[in-house]
Amino acid sequence: MTTEWLPLAMVLVSLIAGVIIFLLGEQRQLARTLLNLGAALVKLALVAFLSMLVVTDRAPEFRLALLPGLDLVLRADALSLLFTTLSAVLWLITTVYAIAYLERSENRARFFGFFSICVASTMGIAMAGNLFTFFIFYELLTLATWPLVAHSGSRAAILGARTYLRYTLGGSAVFLVGLIWLYGLAGSRDFIAGGQLDEIGIAQHLDLQIIFVMLVIGMGVKAALVPLHSWLPKAMVAPAPVSALLHAVAVVKAGAFGLVRLVEDVYGPELVAELGMNHLLAVAAAVTIIYGSVMALRQTDIKRRLAFSTVSQVSYIALGIAVGGVMATTGGMVHLVHQGLMKITLFFCAGIFATVLGVKCIDQLDGLGRRMPWTTLSFTIAGLGMIGLPPMAGFVSKYYLGAGAIAVGAWWVIPVLIASTLLNAAYFLPLIKRMWMHPEPGEWPHPVNLSRMETGGLVIPTVMTAIISVLTGLFAAHPLSPLSWVMGIVTEYFP
């Protein structure tokens, strides 16, 4: 059996599902739900099958020439599978949550259609075999998420969506020029572990430095590196499942994943260090980590606090790859998964608080622990994980980052990590304390009575992601854990 179509199928499953959802229209709810879940399950099966192929060294590759010498390449390798597995699992869970969440709202066909296309582009980003393919799906992701951010149609949503577009399209224009420049210098190359630009001479190093900065700007917009982050808090007006997916998997992670590809598979860690670009990236990441945490502390709206927390946490990934070395890179890349699991849990919880009780601000959280024990428990677990309490997933990431930084002599990273941990604690612990310790208020802001189905559809996914996030931390040493997986990938970069 020929398997080269598999990577394409991974993208097409969600794309076709999205188009059919548009065609089904608003009223055919059952068909839409079945299609959503069916496509998500098919995708999981495909991921499992692909993993098997990759493990046995038969990784398929799909190639289509868009222009002479310029190929669209989709393929599975260990790194792309890490990201596709994360997306496929979280997509399934988020779909269940979103179906329950949007039970009573309008324009569901539009929502789920773009939701699926968004996942399709994430798959494309994950499986992209060269920077050109990455760029194509990166743009598609912008297109697919824009209607999701603007979904509610309120004034704030439209303004948020406009800001989002300005940042992402501006970033992608810079990205495109950098890409053209790079291709002009080096031609179209596929991603190779350890980089592909070795034979470019010293004379071109200034070019390479400028190109690197341009590409980092293009990806940094989505990864919300300071000062390119302001769209993210504004995009919080989107419905909770969108925020969850945007923060945990799709947009922000696409940017971070792109940075990983850029450093490890295009330039290669050695060349990046030779060009001095690792310092630049590390400083940007460190500044973002601290700035994001400080800003999070100042927010009173739960979702905005979570948003700034994302700004801060995603930069751990950039920090890890910028510091370099096996340990730190592992710590950064494994955070791709860990942060996704924890942050999606937090956003699910925030969504439940807001829809069920109308709780949106931090001072309304009092006594939630008694009213919604499961959700609050999930929030607590994810929050503690973010702080980095052992043996949670967040601790694993931070431990590897710290130990890796010491191993390569980057001592300055340690104070950054400590400061960030303290700030994380400062912005999560008061919330957790309020929920469990403070008495229940007389009445909630906007209580809504949900059916058992709806409650289940909201709470079960939340608890599931919380459990998975704990398990990834507890069993980090297991050979199938994300950590072991990432270790396997990273050892290829540093032979």
């Binding site: 608003e26 868009l66 194509i136 743009e139 406009r162 224009a173 495109l176 020029v177």
Partner: protein, 483 residues
């Protein structure tokens, strides 16, 4: 056989023009649509022939130049003919319902449309300066007449302005043809290219010719007639004018510059043409950003998008040639799709004022989808024909270290995103303006499908570059192009 097929491209629509009014009402639709469908059928074997043996030349009545007239079919001409045929089929499908052939408006539309098609096909086949003049005149007159079909006062005035400027431009062109003939005694472009001396007289002729063609192609700052004409034309006529008619004179400009004056060294003039393009991109986009009506936005977008083609002159490399041809193709498809979708929106709601259009995603999902897909191509976002054109153009600019043009292209695509996203945001997400419009009727499904097909083709053009660029490579101009 080849000669008959070439003749078919021109004489099938021309014959149908004459026949259509003689037939009984019920049969007219079939005749018209069959005549249009015949065009791609004629093109298929011709494409094979060009593929196999390269350029086809046909000396009419077996007279050869300088006295006789020759038709030439090379890769570039073939691509333009394909664009015409591919746009013509969905547009005709749309016109079957928007201008029913049996009714009064259809009696005006169909003969003119078929005549226009004959003119366009003849122009792409011609390699004779005077023949080009005659066919261009035929196209202009048919186009102007089509503008006036609806009888809308704004459209009539726009038609008159278009006609006056068009005739002025034709006169400039004709004068240049006379001067060139006086010097070379030839009219065939290739022959003129060989014989033309680079003296003051020839330079004057070239300037006159280029000016005339710039007016016809509505290149900034000679674009003044275009927005009102394209923005007020009835139904599918806007799609025809914006998708095909402006391309025709631009094509002539490219032919004359690179084929007739190919070995002239004119860097300053080339830069000047490029600067006009830059003006078009910036001015057209900014003007599109503030238009209150959908069709005017699309019309100004045409002004801007044509500017990209003008960058071919200063860049003048194979990549730039690829880019310009791809831009002509992708823009033709996407713009026709947009105007058809806009025509459906206008027809069903009764206005195309952006502030009156709300909730289109629920009322007219197919048309909106077509509009959005076409917008993706116009903005140059992947995957689409417009993206490939932009990529090639950026690559061409990079290769020559032309950072100014490179930045211009980037800014232009950001601006196009700005005005097109504005349209989509205004038409879909606006809860505060959810009032029921005064009139509402659902457009015929074939009209919506026509728009959608064109938009899908514009996206599909993002995947079909290999054969198209292959054809262009076989028909690069004889001189004056950098590798």
């Amino acid at each position: 056989m080849i000669a008959e097929l070439l003749a078919g491209l021109v004489f099938i629509p021309l014959g149908a023009t004459l026949l259509v009014l003689l037939l009984p009402r019920q049969a007219r639709g079939y005749l018209c649509f069959t005549a249009v469908l015949a065009l791609p059928l004629c093109l298929m074997p011709l494409t094979q022939a060009v593929w196999a043996d390269g350029e086809i030349t046909l000396a009419l009545a077996e007279f050869t130049p300088p006295l006789g007239i020759v038709w030439r079919l090379d890769g570039l001409a073939l691509i333009m003919l394909w664009l015409t045929a591919i746009v013509a089929v969905p547009v005709s499908l749309h016109a079957l319902t928007s201008f029913p052939p049996g009714e009064q408006t259809g009696r005006g539309f169909w003969p003119l449309w078929l005549m226009l098609l004959a003119g366009i096909n003849a122009l792409f086949l011609s390699a004779d300066l005077f023949n080009l003049y005659v066919t261009l005149e035929m196209i202009t007159l048919a186009g102007v007449a089509m503008l006036g079909i609806g009888g809308n006062a704004l459209a009539l005035k726009a038609a008159m302005r278009y006609l006056l400027l068009g005739l002025l431009a034709s006169l400039l062109y004709l004068l240049a043809v006379g001067l060139i003939y006086g010097q070379t005694g030839a009219l065939d472009i290739y022959l003129v290219g060989e014989r033309l001396e680079t003296d003051r007289l020839a330079a004057t002729a070239l300037v006159l010719m280029i000016t005339g063609l710039l007016v016809k192609s509505a290149i900034f700052p000679m674009h003044v007639w275009l927005p009102a004409a394209h923005g007020n034309a009835p139904g599918p006529v806007s799609a025809i004018l914006s998708g095909l008619v402006v391309k025709v004179s631009l094509y002539m400009l490219i032919r004359i510059w690179f084929w007739m004056a190919g070995d002239w060294e004119l860097p300053a003039a080339a830069t000047a043409l490029g600067l006009l393009g830059a003006g078009a991109i910036l001015y057209g986009s900014l003007a599109a950003l503030i238009q209150p009506r959908l069709k005017m936005v699309i019309a100004y977008s045409t002004v801007a998008q044509l500017g990209y083609v003008m960058l071919l002159f200063p860049l003048a490399s194979i990549n730039a040639f690829h880019a310009a041809s791809y831009q002509l193709l992708a823009h033709g498809l996407a713009k026709a799709a947009m105007f058809l979708a806009a025509a459906n929106i206008l027809w069903s709601i009764g206005t195309d004022r952006l502030h009156a259009l709300t909730d289109l995603n629920r009322k007219l999902p197919v048309d909106l989808f077509a509009l959005a897909l076409a917008a993706v191509s116009i903005m140059g976002l992947p995957p689409s024909g417009g993206f490939l054109a932009k990529w090639l153009l950026l690559e061409a600019a990079w290769q020559q270290g032309a950072w100014g043009w490179l930045i211009l292209i980037s800014i232009g695509s950001l601006l196009s995103a700005a005005y097109l996203f504005r349209v989509i945001a205004l038409t879909c997400f606006h809860p505060e303006r959810r009032h029921v419009p005064t009139r509402w009727q659902s457009p015929p499904s074939s009209a919506s499908i026509a728009a959608l097909v064109l938009a899908l083709l514009a996206i599909a053009a993002g995947f079909t570059s290999a054969p198209i660029l292959g054809l262009i490579d076989d028909s690069l101009p004889p001189g004056g192009i950098w590798p």
